[in-house]
Symmetry: C2
Subunit: 347 residues, 2 copies
């Protein structure tokens, strides 16, 4: 798009998004050209068509999509833009896949400051670069003031699965070990503390991070991994219940083995919520045959994003498909699958 | 997901979406299982993972995404659900590609009637079936009352480009003929009439339709096609200005050749808007060498979605990259690239 079309550059310092920025005309072209295309610059976007064209590597492909409606848009340890990259990269990685391409759809509320949009786009473009995954195509819509909430982003990712891998939610077998890649609940508590202006003693920051590189190391060392999943919305409790049902097994956790930061544990106690129900955005659960668990743990701990990894439980035969927790005092309780409305808009 | 998890089925007649339906717990699982998975049923969704896995055919892939924020959600000739399928299928088809897979992200406002959601999902699933394109993965988020506007949908499509085709926005050459596949402005005027409760003399309905089958016939007969694009937001005026800039050519239209329904022309006159600035959702513009134009026109007219096709102009050398219209009285005027804020939320 030739610059002479837009006599005045966008006012990124003081300007605001208006309805014309989503209406398909000259103003939208300027926003796309001066803000989005400039930040995400790559050969695919430079094609300038409504669809980007790519040559895929050989192998099976995976595709995943997620909408991001997190409130607030900026939170300790992250922002909606980098989260929208990490979250979708992680969903691709949970198939054992290498992420190849991302797309993004922006739904912006009229009046949203261009300066905030520019910051978010910069963070998002930085996350794409850090992940090595180009944003190949995108879309912008604007809704009237009061019909949105600042900014929603929907990202979609496509990735390729290495030969020989068969990682899926229905593949957990009785006897499998359950591993987690680090501390639980950091993201949800960080977002909640910012949203509600809570003043916890220590600084809790989101764990938002891309896990594809950790996964690549894991599957290279232990291709026998049965299942991977990131415990986002609904936390570990929802994810484990979902997987127990999908695989038709029971799951038993050791309470003492769960890595939870004292600050997060304290915040959860204060708020009266279970850390197992709190969202994570840079952690994964892994299931593998018990005899491979120590090797997998060692590989995970050797990675910067898996330093606090732990073996936290095992899969068992159980027609009721219950998730249970063995407490430190020798008892056991069922880990409920909550409705989760206590923590809305956490991603 | 086993049904026994949800003792009460969703109340699709009188229920409403609440925050728990987006929170990652049991309520969300029920909504996904009983509404989305039931309607879109296919082998990919049945995999039940956050990412769907597919084996692509050989060839280059294209990827495109669009957010749909149309208001109202139901309009003459369509609804947001089928539109979200057609629009993205069409963006894929404009690369000459065959659409393979779709994903969808739903952002729902708290309190939205489940009955409306179910209707929209049914229309959307019907459109997927009619297009032969499965929805392989999806996501649901819920925002508080007053932070959205009923329903927004973002769809992403992946398609495969047949060997030997090189269709792109920068490929128009001076001398090319410009064709359109039918009447202009129907979608925008249909949506506007419903939204503003305008009572036009005749019933104008949206042209929302999937164009991939028409495109397949076109590229089979005339593989020399240089460029295809669907004139959606901003209408023909915005699309032609965009393409003129991308290809570095001028474009000259013949006013008398433009197919516009009298009812649409009348409505535009009444509203004081130019039909060339009004959105279409089932029309395409095609550019091909002049000597192949008659053949292409015949193929387009032979297809049910191209019956009213016409040759409407030509590309010329023009460093200014202007789009001009030759009027019926022998004059010429520049077709402006409007900001387009006169028709917000048209898709």
């Amino acid at each position: 798009m030739s610059r002479r079309l837009f006599p005045q550059p966008l006012d990124l310092a003081n300007g605001r998004v208006d309805m014309s920025h989503g209406a398909g005309g000259r103003a939208m072209a300027q926003l796309v050209s001066e803000l989005f295309a400039a930040a995400f610059e790559n050969d695919y976007l430079a094609q300038g068509n409504d669809a980007a064209m790519m040559s895929p590597p050989p192998g099976r492909l995976v595709m995943s999509t997620d909408g991001y409606v997190i409130s607030p848009l900026f939170f300790p340890g992250g922002d909606i833009g980098s989260l929208a990259v990490h979250g979708t990269v992680n969903d691709i990685a949970m198939a054992g896949a290498r992420p190849l391409w991302l797309s993004a759809g922006f739904i912006i509320e009229e009046g949203f400051p261009l300066a905030d949009l520019a910051r978010i786009v910069e963070f998002m473009a930085g996350a794409c670069k850090a992940c090595g995954v180009p944003l190949v195509t995108g879309d912008t819509k604007v809704v009237e003031r009061g019909k949105g909430d600042g900014l929603f982003i929907t990202t979609t990712g496509v990735g390729v699965v290495p030969e020989g891998l068969h990682i899926a939610g229905d593949a957990i077998r009785p006897g499998d070990a359950v591993l987690v890649s680090g501390t639980l609940g950091d993201h949800g508590i960080a977002v909640l503390s910012k949203r509600e202006n809570l003043d916890f003693d220590t600084d809790i920051v989101s764990d938002s991070a891309p896990l594809h590189d950790l996964v690549a190391a894991m599957v290279a060392a232990v291709p026998e991994i049965h299942t991977l999943r990131d415990p986002t919305r609904g936390g570990v409790a929802a994810t484990l219940n979902e997987l127990a049902n999908q695989s038709g097994v029971g799951l038993i956790l050791q309470e003492a083995a769960l890595p939870i930061r004292p600050a997060v544990r304290g915040a959860c106690e204060m708020l009266g919520i279970d850390p197992l129900g709190v969202a994570n955005e840079g952690k994964l659960l892994a299931f593998c045959p018990a005899e491979r668990a120590e090797r997998l743990l060692a590989v995970m701990r050797a990675h910067p994003l898996g330093r606090d990894s732990a073996i936290i439980g095992r899969a068992v035969e159980d027609d009721r498909r219950l998730v249970q927790m063995e407490t430190e005092f020798g008892g056991a309780r069922v880990v409920e699958w909550l409705n989760g409305e206590q923590l809305p808009r956490i991603c």
